[in-house]
Subunit: 248 residues, 2 copies
């Protein structure tokens, strides 16, 4: 038996998030485990780097599983892709150390959030971006976002999924806009994230970009560690887990 | 009664093309005319700049219609967008000259076709790009594409929808690739296009990019004016009508 690591890409639109749930189906985990069963003929459980919420996408989710597989890893990748539905694919499969755990061993995760600004909604981006009508001041947003970097208590922007520690280490928080201001992309990397943290941050940064909160105001609510001070949670379709980073 | 011109954006995935058909529903025209009926209370027919096929998208389709509307054109745009389904939107509405016809008055049309190259299909682009596994030689493709520019007989690459003239004036044919070769975008502008012309050209250019046809071979089959010489028709989801161009 070998431990494999696989990188997943998925369109989260029709899924109730990544993880198995008692009362909601389908989840990404369900269809991935069904594909593994197709390929190897028995029930397998996968380990994952982290949950993603309903409607959230991934281009770099990481899972692990144990399998007795005598062929090249590339053949396993192709067999899984042949069995998976169109909205999920395995980008890569490789052999991992026996003790590899995609969540425990992850050094950090990187998410991207996409916003587009225009008078009219865009049918071609309705599943992959948040549409806003009013222009955004990208410079003010970037000033506010810079305050996120560092080891800090992020209780304002989310709740822990395990335990009660709300301190996280954000190593990158970058808001970029196209020259005409119609496309905005927020990239954030942290050792780990609280529940709804990225979308709460984006919803609050957008308030800054719309002049409904000052940069100092943003810094102040971060310092309160009070979940009630956060802006609204941005909608899921703009969010993509683009990478889980490991020390190898 | 005023003649209005409207620019449409749509995700063609679930539509049987733009135009009303006896045996296939829904079409984009159907839902646009239904929205007009919602807004003005009666049946209207729209004129269009051109058909798009099943699964083909548009970010700049143009239609026209006559309406007795006393409010600003922007209010009409917003009313239509409120009534249209999520996969169709009106980007702009303005008042046109009484005799404006979106097809007859069009100077040219511009289409874009998107290809991505990678070992694995990409769930996030399955409705908007053609996935190919083998690398493409973008330079060879661009050399072949350059032969398309000019007033020529394009019978190799399509059939006329009206009459039997297959001469068209291609004013732009540009194949661009990302530096890593994973993304390719083909932009083509002509006074008008034959049925399946862009997709036949793309299917044939890809043969050049894969080394299955030489640049000279491409020029030679263009010169034959023989529809049987074309490569395969590229799939619809990579194609988007991005603009219809007028002299104003």
């Amino acid at each position: 038996v070998t431990r494999f690591r696989a990188t997943l890409v998925y369109d989260g639109t029709r899924f109730h998030g990544f993880q198995w749930q008692a009362n909601a189906s389908p989840t990404v985990q369900e269809v991935v485990e069904a594909a593994l069963k197709d390929v190897c003929g028995r029930d397998l459980r996968v380990l994952t780097a982290g949950r993603t919420d309903t409607g959230v996408h991934a281009s770099g989710q990481v899972i692990a599983f144990d399998l007795d597989w005598q062929h090249p890893a590339e053949d396993l990748r192709n067999a899984l892709n042949a069995s998976l539905p169109d909205d999920v694919a395995v980008r890569a499969v490789d052999v991992a150390p026996d003790e590899f755990h995609p969540r425990h061993d992850a050094r950090s995760r990187t998410y991207q959030y996409t916003v587009y600004v225009g008078a009219v909604r865009d049918p071609l981006r309705r599943f992959t971006a948040w549409h806003l009508i009013a222009p955004l001041d990208a410079k003010a947003i970037q000033q506010a976002a810079a305050a996120l970097v560092g080891i800090q208590d992020f209780a304002t922007f989310g709740t822990p999924t395990v335990g009660d520690i709300t301190v996280r280490n954000v190593t990158e928080a970058r808001w970029e806009a196209s020259s005409d201001g119609s496309e905005h992309c927020f990239t954030i990397t942290a050792n780990a994230f609280l529940f709804r943290m990225v979308r709460s941050i984006v919803g609050t940064l957008v308030m800054v970009g719309q002049g409904r909160m000052t940069v100092d105001g943003f810094r102040a609510i971060l310092a309160t560690r009070d979940r009630q001070q956060s802006g609204p949670v941005a909608p899921p379709q703009g969010l993509t887990l683009i990478a889980v980073n490991y020390d190898d």
